[in-house]
């Protein structure tokens, strides 16, 4: 078992121990009795069988006892789960977005990150969103997950009980690079967290277009070095000619500003030969025209 690092983990681990304890007891007990019978009443030792049709006492006994036991298991399962149903009112609220194949986070002050940073010992509520298909937000060390369902507002909340860095995994199958959809949550002491929050993220000399490509998970599928991942590479894309399929017909196009904007807004309109349809969702509502212009400007320079 991994480290347990949230208040919720205790309830999960405790109900796990209760259920596993009872189960292992019965598994071993029944198996031992079964194997013992096979030896004790073997044909050699017991040549004449005794016909016993059944016993009402036993039937009642082994109906009632399991009923009681499973209700105990249910109870601990429910009690361990119940706190998750409602987040405390004073929780810090962070929005988490899943998209093929990247998690991203938006803080109340509008800051965007690729990984989660939270304070130690404070309730944090994560609102879960998906931009395309189903994903699931899973933090094994916190023992919790909840699906990110497009068009639906799920959430989970936790209170970290250990400082450190823990994995976030996608647990709901979401396509080709599902197993690479990873992120992390870093739990900082409250002072460090406030410090982190107060600091403006390092302003890099990075091209704003590149930042946008990173934030929107474009680079998971489109490489910058000419290699083929899921979609065509961005390297030298501007001014390139490609054969695309439009409404079932092949045609040759020149990649210009207009084509790039169209591909971002209606990704399935023209599909470059050799690539699959349907894998990219429209970013029409996500990116503004100015941002698309920034991206285009960056792509022009990517030779």
């Amino acid at each position: 078992m991994r480290t347990s690092a949230s208040t919720f983990a205790e309830g999960v681990d405790f109900s796990l121990y209760v259920i596993t304890g009872i189960s292992v007891f019965f598994l071993i007990g029944i198996t031992v009795v079964m194997v013992y019978f096979v030896f004790r009443y073997s044909k050699k030792r017991n040549p004449v069988p005794t016909n016993i049709e059944g016993s009402n006492t036993l039937e009642v006994l082994w109906t009632v006892i399991p009923v009681l036991l499973v209700m105990v298991m249910f109870y601990f399962g429910w009690m361990g789960y119940k706190p998750l149903l409602k987040a405390p009112d004073d929780a810090i609220v962070i929005d988490a977005y899943g998209q093929m194949w990247k998690f991203s986070f938006e803080y109340p002050d509008g800051r965007l990150t690729d990984s989660l940073v939270v304070p130690f010992g404070k309730p944090v509520k994560i609102n879960l969103h998906s931009r395309d298909v189903l994903h699931s937000f899973f933090i094994p060390a916190f023992r919790m997950k909840e699906d990110m369902v497009p068009g639906k507002n799920n959430f989970l909340w936790f209170e970290a009980t250990q400082e450190g860095r823990f994995d976030i995994l996608c647990a709901e199958y979401c396509g080709q690079l599902h197993s690479y959809m990873l992120s992390s949550v870093t739990v900082l002491s409250e002072a460090d967290y406030l410090h982190w929050l107060a600091n403006v993220p390092n302003i890099s000399d990075e091209h704003p277009g590149l930042s946008l490509l990173k934030q929107n998970a474009c680079l998971t599928c489109h490489s910058q070095d000419g290699s083929k991942i899921i979609g065509p590479s961005f390297k030298g894309i501007f001014g390139r000619t490609e054969i695309v399929e439009t409404d079932g017909l092949e045609r040759e196009i020149l990649i210009d500003e207009e084509y790039i904007a169209r591909s971002i807004k209606q990704p399935n309109a023209d599909i470059v030969q050799g690539y699959m349809k349907g894998l990219m969702v429209s970013y029409e509502t996500v990116l503004s025209d100015d941002q698309i212009a920034e991206i285009t400007d960056y792509l022009k320079k990517l030779k």
């Binding site: 109900s15 009443y41 429910w78 789960y81 023992r143 647990a171």
Partner: protein, 541 residues
């Protein structure tokens, strides 16, 4: 008596010969064997895909195939194993072959419909496998076809769901046939409570097949419609609801788990009395618990969706009902173990499979309790723990019962015998390999490795490695087992009488193999119920 002269020395293999006499036969025994041979073919394909997947997971990073291929492998593995192997397995093969004989009749109620259901099965199988050879290849959605990914991916999802749709009809027709057969064709004197427990298990199964399968049929058609016409049922970007799909899918697919498991319970209830030479303990409890499982099994589908964002109330109710379905299952296990008490136990390959079934099914059941509890499920949902649990139930349970049944009825079906020593060795390797393959999945799931993972974090390496090695052990056991069964067919010199195991149900009163009309003389029922060993009718060769 009237049949004595009619079918003196011919069994159902003799008489008509040639391929057409089989693929157009309306004899339930031949249809049962048609299913057996086709099922085993698909099973071997499914096993091969599974071995490739395990090989890919031997080390982190790429071992064998690309991510997309891996995703197609686990989808096709699931579709083949679920729809082409485990759902039809016991009912279509052993139900078809033995249900009429155990009821003391000469065929199922609708023999032509029975043949049609095999043909539909083959059509569905061809459709499912055709996705391998055209377009963008087999679906890469997982066998659950979850929307909206299944609506968007470019792989051949439409053909795969249409195949499952077609296969559903085969399942419905078999279920319908068995229900009518059990109601109408029991031999005189055999009341419902004097039926063998295998018939009870098939009866409960058949009702689920008839009542639940249409739901998956229409749901899968809706996926195809969504893909081809963009109707807006499940894809939120065109106004649909992906959670609706999950509800519809599991309303069938959870009861379907009992379509896969109940017939196996029936097999165990047949094997145990024969190899303990005593009556089954708690006949009524076993019979009625099958019906209880079939009934309660309808109301617990929501436990597949504990992390999808259902309301607290829904989670509470579905979790509680899930625990209730454990009760009738526990009752069965207790009665089976009690049947060993004061028996005169003859340890033969079928009994070994039955004992392994009980052990492995318990692990499957207990891990099911862990998944049914809300708190633990929130951690374990969609991890390898679920994969391990599912394979313990389906393969360690139903799969082992299937092979137990094959070893049990082998002499009756072919009138020959396999090498018992080799069968025991094969069983041992198979059993060890099975547990080596699937137990580490439970561990790695607890550690937090999600399912359907092409690649994994370094800390998951060791359990994955053991699991892959286990898959090779399992494959060795399986090959030895199948080789032994096949070579028994060609080399068996032993003359098999009517009743090599000293069984008591009616199939042991007829010749091995049975004649075309099933009985060469009127079957005689034991006085007090199907397992009344004290009043076992004497059987002359």
């Amino acid at each position: 008596m009237y049949m004595t002269t009619l079918v003196a020395n011919t069994n159902f293999f003799q008489g008509k010969k040639g391929l057409f006499s089989w693929i157009f036969s309306v004899d339930h025994k031949r249809i049962g064997l048609l299913y057996l041979y086709s099922l085993m073919t698909f099973f071997i394909v499914g096993v091969t895909l599974g071995l490739l997947m395990r090989y890919e997971l031997l080390n982190p990073g790429k071992d064998l195939v690309e991510a997309k291929t891996y995703n197609q492998l686990f989808t096709l593995h699931g579709v083949i194993m679920i729809f082409l192997f485990i759902i039809p397995s016991i009912p279509a093969v052993f139900g078809n072959f033995f249900l009429p004989i155990m009821l003391g009749t000469d065929d199922v109620s609708f023999p032509r419909l029975n043949l049609l259901s095999w043909w539909i099965y083959i059509l569905g199988a061809i459709m499912a496998l055709s996705t391998l050879v055209y377009g963008d290849g087999p679906a890469d959605t997982g066998w659950t076809f979850y929307a909206p990914y299944s609506v968007r991916t470019g792989t051949n999802v439409s053909m795969a769901v249409l195949a499952a749709f077609v296969l559903g009809f085969s399942s419905i027709l078999t279920g319908l046939n068995f229900i009518v057969t059990i109601h109408r064709l029991r031999t005189p004197g055999m009341s419902f409570l004097k039926m063998p427990l295998f018939a009870w298990a098939l009866y409960a199964t058949s009702w689920i097949q008839v009542l639940a399968t249409p739901i998956i049929g229409i749901t899968l058609l809706m996926i195809a419609a969504e893909r081809m016409l963009g109707v807006g049922l499940f894809d939120p970007s065109i106004g649909g609801d992906p959670i609706l799909y999950q509800h519809l899918f599991w309303i069938y697919s959870h009861p379907a788990v009992y379509i896969m498991a109940l017939p196996a319970f029936g097999i165990i209830s047949e094997i145990l009395p024969t190899f303990t030479q005593r009556t089954i303990f708690g006949y009524k409890a076993i019979a009625f618990s099958s019906l209880a499982i079939a009934f309660v099994g309808y109301f617990i589908w929501g436990h597949h969706m504990f992390t999808s964002g259902m309301s607290g109330t829904a989670r509470f109710i579905f979790s509680m009902l899930t625990f209730l379905v454990a009760i009738p299952t526990a009752i069965k296990v207790f009665n089976w173990v009690a049947t060993l008490y004061k028996g005169s136990i003859n340890v033969q390959p079928p009994l070994l499979y039955a004992l392994a079934f009980i052990f492995q099914f318990m692990i499957g059941g207990f891990t099911g309790l862990i998944l049914g509890a809300l708190a633990t499920d929130i951690h374990l949902h969609d991890t390898h723990f679920v994969v391990g649990h599912f394979h313990y139930v389906m393969f360690g349970g139903t799969g082992f019962a299937f092979f137990g049944a094959l070893h049990y009825w082998y002499p009756k079906i072919w009138g020959k015998m396999y090498n018992v020593k080799v069968a025991n060795v094969a069983f041992t390797i198979f059993f060890i390999g099975f547990n080596m393959l699937y137990f580490p999945m439970l561990i790695v799931g607890l550690m937090g490795m999600p399912r359907r993972y092409y690649d994994y974090l370094p800390e998951f390496h060791l359990p994955n490695m053991i699991s892959t090695y286990g898959s090779w052990v399992l494959a060795t056991g399986l090959l030895l087992m199948l080789g032994n069964l096949i070579s028994g067919f060609y080399t068996s010199k032993r003359k098999i009488g009517r009743n090599p195991w000293n069984g008591i149900t009616l199939e042991w009163q007829t010749t091995s193999p049975p004649p075309l009309q099933n009985f060469d003389r009127m079957p005689v029922l034991p006085k007090n119920g199907p397992y009344d060993y004290e009043n076992k009718p004497s059987i002359k060769e």
